[in-house]
Amino acid sequence: MDFATLVQVLDSTLRLATPLLFACLAGLFSEKSGILDIGLEGKMLAAAFFAAATAAVTGSAWIGLAAGCAASLVLAALHGLASITFRGNQLISGVAINFLAAGITVLMGQNWFGLGGRTPQLEGAARFQNIELPFAQALSPVPVIGPLYSQVLSGHTILVYLGLLAVPATWYLLFRTRFGLRLRAVGENPAAVDTAGVSVTGLRYGGVAICGLLCGLSGAYLSTGLAAGFVKDMSAGRGFIALAALIFAKWRPWYALGACLLFGLLEALGNRFQSIQVLGVTVPTQFMQALPYILTVVILAGFVGKAIPPRAGGEPYVKER
């Protein structure tokens, strides 16, 4: 692989890692509060559709982003209602949300646009445009650093940079604020938080709501940043890969960035090299496409060390009477 190809692969790595990163941080907030969420996928998909549909109608990617986040928040509220208020099974609720999003996006898309579930192709201001970082032109002739800065780091949509900024923001919110301390406590030992007079329900809804917002950003980026419009099932398992990245990162924000970049790199390699030769054997395309899923299984198998999830995860909190 020559240097120019490497730069291209790294560039798409950053692009492809962004939706994973938002979803991974979303899962982090939810799981730290003790609510498992396998509905990340569905929330992403719903956000992707409503963002693209709204952007197509209004012509503004920003209004689309708001609509996408709103759709994702509605599903998050549903998940909260099922798993916090009615103390239902969090896995089942997540599965239901995934199906609901898969069905409703195509149904509405067909009803609104009549394009078989797709939204119209987005153009101009209906899509997030690439931003040139300062000095990108000036630095590009510099060897090695120049292309890395001007082609890999520069020239992405604002959501990519927002995703990168979300990592320190998440770290600060979780580990340096009172809200973060309480959120982490409620995922480990809700009874203790309750005894201290802080509302378990309120904190968990808070965690789930932040999760919904971040999933909204992830989905909106998929359809109005990465692609130019919504297509059926466009999230393609990214919500689940984000969950695997979260476990790989052992529920820590900075490691989540690393894990998502790794999965982004795999996807970028799969897209760039449709078939490659390894030791004289041609690796089939389908294998390259399945690679992120296979790696997810390998990582979950714990070949990367022991990952300890928040202790109260998945268990509804029942106040003693």
């Binding site: 396998i38 089942i92 609720s93 199906f99 069905g103 969950l243 299984v297 979950l300």
Partner: protein, 363 residues
């Protein structure tokens, strides 16, 4: 004493949940601009109003009995197997290999051989996530979902590169030999009005036999007792000398095997060749069926019939009301999972209060 009488638990609550799911679906249909009552009438008359409709309804129901039982068996061990889709895909491979490469003299023998092939391949595909859950503690929900993606990539590869008929463009295998074709509803049920087009075939009876087999296994054998004990409380099961690894492996192998058997109906019985996406979401419907049927074989059969009606009715609906695409069925399925699985307490708690109050007044 339980707060609810048994009939309320197994009949009333599922029906209320179903009614809620259908009510929300009606709102969606009304939003699209069609009349929900008219849509429901069309669905019911299209699915159970004629022998033609029944031929499809029962064919779909057969698929869902297999995948529903698969999810139900895993549920009894408190394992959430979302991998029915991938396991059924691999089951299709097993059925195909058995039908194409073994010269069966008669369909009865072919049915046995294909069943063994489908169940073995389905079970094998479930074995890896099961082992990872049992020994490495990796979450079975995520691994089985990943195995669905890997299975579909694997099947595309095999159909495009290995199993395709040489010289043909379509990524599908050759038609199975005549001797492996299962008798369709027309062959044994023409007197009931089934036509040649009906995809319903003898695999329907295999599904009913499996439902009975699962009932015997779960409630009448030592292994079934161990599975349920493990599902109720892992520490108690360990204390009683039950090995968690063994139960997880066995429950998932049975679960995957049942999902794989679905291919006997869909691949051997209906398509009579292996095509891309031979499962068409039936693995996921199994989740809704198992939840709705309270993981009991009788409930699973009834819920499978309900979803058979929804699928066939949905296809008819799409034909008569083009504004409603077939994803409407996915939405209804999601709402059924939501109301029967996750929002169960929303209905249960008020009903429990109601029954307690009535009983107190009676006392």
């Amino acid at each position: 004493m339980d707060a609810l009488p048994k009939w309320a638990d197994i009949v009333l609550i599922p029906l209320v949940n179903l009614a809620l799911a259908l009510a929300v679906s009606a709102l969606v249909i009304a939003y699209i601009g069609e009349n929900p009552v008219e849509a429901l009438t069309l669905m019911i008359s299209g699915s159970v109003g004629s022998a033609y409709g029944w031929g499809y309804t029962l064919y779909y129901a057969t698929n869902f009995v297999f995948t529903g039982l698969a999810v139900a068996v895993a549920f009894h061990a408190r394992l959430f197997n979302i991998g029915g889709e991938g396991q059924a895909l691999l089951g299709g491979l097993g059925v195909t290999l058995a039908c194409l490469y073994i010269p069966w003299p008669h369909w009865t023998l072919a049915l046995v051989g294909a069943s063994v092939g489908g169940a073995l391949f389905g079970a094998a595909w479930a074995a890896i996530p099961a082992w990872l859950q049992a020994r490495r503690g990796s979450h079975i929900v995520i691994t089985t979902i990943m195995f669905n993606f890997i299975a579909s990539a694997l099947m595309v590869y095999l159909l495009v590169n290995v199993l395709k008929v040489p010289g043909s463009m379509a990524p599908e295998t050759a038609r199975f030999p005549e001797a492996t074709h299962l008798p369709s509803a027309f062959d044994w049920g023409a007197w009931m009005g089934f036509t040649k087009s009906a995809p319903l075939n003898v695999a329907f009876f295999l599904a009913l036999a499996c439902a009975f087999g699962v009932w015997v296994l779960i409630w009448r054998t030592k292994l079934g007792y161990e599975i349920r004990a493990f599902g109720q409380s892992e520490p108690a099961a360990v204390y009683a000398g039950i090995s968690p690894t063994r139960i997880i492996m066995v429950a998932m192998l049975i679960s995957g095997g049942l999902a794989g058997l679905m291919a006997v109906n869909a691949v051997q019985g209906e398509a009579e060749r292996l095509v891309i996406d031979s499962v068409q979401g039936a693995g996921f419907v199994g989740i809704a069926v198992a939840l709705m049927g309270r993981s009991h074989p009788v409930g699973v059969v009834l819920a499978a019939l309900l979803f058979g009606i929804l699928y066939q009715g949905g296809a008819e609906l799409e034909f008569s009301m083009p504004a409603i695409s077939r994803e409407m069925v996915v939405v209804i399925q999601a709402l059924v999972i939501l109301f029967t699985g996750a929002l169960d307490n929303m209905v249960r708690t008020p009903l429990e209060r109601l029954f307690l109050r009535r009983r107190r007044r009676a006392a």
